[in-house]
């Protein structure tokens, strides 16, 4: 299969060129945030305060890495389950967030926001933390250091392999995949 190469942050043109099921290689700058960081980001938005980074066109990777050993850029860094961020995500998409990397299903609200404001949800391989860490070339905590593993990090990634789960057209790889392989196990 053809692998589409993307550079982060993303533009609307790039978003619109992606379709559910596409295999993608991401290089560039992305940010990490998970549960508590999302809670704090959305609180800042509600209070009309500036965010710790410009969210326009950005990709957020849902990850809480293991502590890095001396000499390492980052510890193991695979995706966490995305639905826990669903309550906060539409607010961030409305502000210009263009991509998310995680694993697992998203809510209807998130998928509608992705269509309306043009954003994409990528799936990385859960549990492949050691493998994915090799694509991360630089990592720096830029906010919420007190959250330890959950702090917001700015990452420089190179050839981070992901798959488009939800595109900006309402596609859903989880639904498509399930339909295609339903009742196919028998007699094997």
């Amino acid at each position: 299969m053809n692998i589409k190469k993307l550079s982060a942050p993303l533009t609307d043109d790039t978003i619109l060129s992606l379709r559910t099921g596409d295999e993608v290689s991401i290089s560039g700058t992305i940010y990490t945030a998970r549960d508590q960081a999302h809670f704090r980001l959305v609180k800042l938005i509600e209070e009309n305060k500036p965010l710790p980074f410009d969210i326009q066109g950005q990709i957020i990777y849902y990850v809480g890495p293991t502590p890095e050993k001396p000499g390492e850029v980052i510890g193991s860094a695979g995706p966490t389950t995305s639905y826990r961020m669903d309550a906060y995500t539409p607010t961030l998409i409305k502000l210009g967030l263009k991509g998310m990397i995680g694993k697992g299903k998203r809510s209807i609200e998130v998928r509608e926001a992705m269509q309306k404001y043009k954003a994409v949800y990528f799936g990385a391989i859960g549990g492949a933390g050691a493998l994915i860490s090799k694509t991360i070339k630089d990592a720096k905590v830029i906010a919420y250091e007190d959250l330890l593993s959950e702090a917001v990090r700015k990452l420089l990634v190179e050839d981070f392999r992901v798959v488009v789960i939800n595109d900006a057209y309402g596609g859903d790889l989880y639904e498509d995949g399930k339909k295609q392989y339903e009742n196919k196990y028998i007699n094997r």
Binding site: G64, G78, K105, A128, L148, S149, Y174, K178, Y181
Partner: protein, 279 residues
Amino acid sequence: MRFITSELISNAVKNLIISSSINLPEDTRKSLKLALEKEISESGKTVLSQILLNADIAELENKPLCQDTGLAVFFVEIGADVTVKGKNLTDAINEGTRAGYSEGFLRKSTCDPFTRKNIGDNTPAIIHYDVTDGDKLKIMYSAKGGGSENMSKIKMLRPSDGKDGIINFVVETMREAGPNPCPPNIVGIGIGGNFERSAILAKKSLFRELGSRNDDDELNEMERIIFEKVNNIGTGPMGFGGIYTAIGVHIIKEPCHIASLPVAVNLGCHSYKHGEAVI
């Protein structure tokens, strides 16, 4: 009577935690390879080979398999002839947990349920005790991740629901879980006991060797049926579609109340991190 020092126990726990977070058990590797051979979905195959590659890299680079190094869960069997000297057994295990997660550069994931503030050292460990004959201390450890734990379920069925009711509940739990618990999963099932006992049995069943037969023929057949039904859902590796949504189904059954039929489903992810030590 045999005396075991708490230092010896803490040290064994520390080593067990560090090695289990890095090294994928051989039975898991074998089951994943078998799934890779038989999987018919291309994206499913890609995922399975990446999972196996991840295990190779983790071992080679001494790096945790997954960033979620779990809550520390222990099943401990203490021989009646064993006496622990120094600290008590629970404190010794917690001390080993603290040391393992710190010295192994593992993620600390315990937090306060309301403030969500991280406790900072991954304690308290969750420990289940059994007393056995003899003078040995057996410690089974699992680095239980949150993703698969969150998709686990428990239900108090009616006795009239029977075996079919149990099978349906398990399959529906897996259907609803979809891609979230990092499939292909180990599906741990506890049947009987009471509310909390069924959950403990489900968790304990995850330790059984993958690919092994259930000693009970009836349960073995039930595992086979569930395996087939779950893999017919279509979720596949990481939910990208495929015929391997489970790599194993393990059942433990115990007597229950005449009014009840408790069933618990506890899921293990594809790279279920666990190990054991006998002192």
